[in-house]
């Protein structure tokens, strides 16, 4: 049996706590056993790869090494950013010369490899989809959802190997297996502005506005994501968007793991669905989920 290490990443300890808690719950219910990686540190995120290539590989490499040292076969990083950084690092370090160079920055070298999973990929495997369908106990058909992948689950496809870079369907399949109503969405892989949230808030508000407007226009009553940056931009900044553009969006933004948990009968509070800034409670009450 595959031994999975769980790497929450920094966001999931803070603004993305809902994703951490719901990921652990969903994995438990879906029979994915994992233990938190001991001694993990930040992957470096956008700031490392935007400014220093050595750092962008060395910081994830330390965590991959911990996973190897602790005897894991695979590492699960629900955060799309951490996931992408790990995949980039594992990909680039297949070059022996580069691996030696990056290892020279670490206390102990990274030797060997572990598989890297995003959780979306695991949950969208055929057998997991079947298991989810079997375990659904709650009718969520009143949820009309767009699946939002953003960038970091799918690009670049040579490294991240999604089912399709322009029109992925992994999350779409999970939404359908959970029994919610899927709304087809051409903007599913458009960018929300990601790490520009703090330094160029204007750009993030504009990109996020485009996404919200289109999703609402297509009749979605909530959006499903697998990325804590996307979540933060679309959920916590919705009121700023409304003020800036005179719009009246109120589109709940759910982590896909919250959706999966809900479908399997888990509670609203337990899944931290009451922690989002754009409230999900009215929508959930409307479809009979308290």
């Amino acid at each position: 049996m595959t031994r999975y290490a769980y790497y929450p990443g920094c966001s999931l300890e803070g603004t993305g706590k809902e994703y951490d808690v719901s990921s652990r719950i969903a994995c438990e219910d879906m029979a994915i056993e994992m233990q938190e990686l001991e001694g993990w540190s930040c992957c470096g995120a956008s700031s490392a790869h935007n400014t220093n290539y050595d750092l962008a590989l060395a910081l994830p490499a330390r965590n991959l090494r911990l996973a190897v040292e602790q005897g894991y076969d695979a590492i699960i990083a629900p955060c799309a950013m951490c996931y992408a950084r790990f995949r980039h690092t594992a990909h680039d370090l297949r070059d022996e010369e580069l691996r030696t160079h990056i290892n020279s920055f670490l206390d102990r070298p990274l030797e060997g490899e572990v598989q890297i999973h995003s959780l979306v990929d695991l949950f969208s495997e055929e057998e997991k989809l079947a298991l989810l369908k079997e375990k659904v106990t709650r009718d969520l058909s009143g949820l009309k959802l767009v699946a939002y992948y953003g960038c970091l689950l799918v690009r670049p496809p040579e490294i991240l190997e999604p089912d399709d870079a322009e029109y992925p369907t992994m999350l779409d399949q999970i939404i359908e297996a959970a029994g919610a109503t899927l709304v087809d969405w051409p903007l599913k892989t458009e960018c929300c502005g990601g790490s520009l949230a703090v330094s160029r808030t204007d750009i993030v508000l504009e990109l996020s506005r485009r996404l919200l407007a289109d999703a609402v226009g297509r009749g979605a009553n909530a959006l499903v994501t697998a990325c804590p940056m996307c979540h933060s931009n679309l959920d916590t900044r919705q009121s700023q968007i409304n003020r800036r553009y005179g719009t009246d969006f109120h589109l709940p933004i759910l982590y896909f793991t919250q959706l999966v948990g809900l479908a399997m009968g888990r509670g609203v509070k337990e899944l931290l669905l009451d922690r989002h800034l754009t409230s999900t409670l009215k929508l959930l009450a409307d479809i009979g989920v308290e």
Partner: protein, 188 residues
């Protein structure tokens, strides 16, 4: 070979060649179809679109290229790279331009982005993990935008989304050493 390259000032060598050696991307393969700019979500806010930056590099317009805000406000969504028919890794070029600009002390056309990245990395170096409340606080101080994002601060705390107390983590010591060794490498 690479460390020798870094010692040379920007103008000493053709920029396209420097990019090629540094990040192994050949911008000379670009034939200016413009697909990168057409699909770029941030193009509307850029001084020049990604395809214009590629052209600037081909034509050795160093000063012009580095003056643009393009490579600073690129959101790294990698749509350009994914769609490029010539397989030019445009997003990686933007990373490379940022690295060069930082090393050469070139004043960024989007200064807040640079401050953000520096604060982010400083915090990881100090604690081993990102600490979001500290990130906003330090960023506001260093960017001079004291009240930026503050309207979100209170709801973030009341919703339990931000931990007001920073911590240190078990891997912090090695992380600090990684930063130190990478910095020493950069000085070579």
């Amino acid at each position: 070979m690479e460390s020798l390259t870094l010692k040379l000032a920007l103008h000493d060598r053709p920029l396209a060649q420097q990019i090629l050696e540094r990040i192994d991307v050949d911008v000379r393969n670009c034939y200016q179809c413009g697909r990168c700019t057409a699909g770029c979500p941030v193009a509307y806010a850029m001084d020049a679109g990604p395809h214009q930056i590629m052209r600037g590099l081909q034509l050795e317009q160093h000063d012009w290229v580095f003056r643009q805000n393009t490579y600073w406000i690129c959101a790294s969504c990698i749509t350009c790279t994914t769609r490029c028919p010539c397989e030019v890794d445009i997003a990686r070029v933007m990373d490379g331009l940022r690295e060069l600009a930082l090393e050469q002390g070139i004043r960024p056309a989007a200064p807040t982005v640079k401050v953000f990245h520096q604060v982010f990395l400083d915090l990881i170096r100090l604690t081993g993990r990102m600490y979001e409340a500290g990130l906003i606080g330090l960023y506001n101080l260093r960017s001079g935008q004291l009240f930026a994002s503050l309207d979100l601060g209170l709801p973030m705390v009341t919703h339990g989304k931000i931990d007001p107390i920073p911590r240190r983590y078990p891997g912090q010591d090695e992380v600090a050493r990684i930063f130190q060794r990478v910095a020493q490498e950069g000085e070579k």
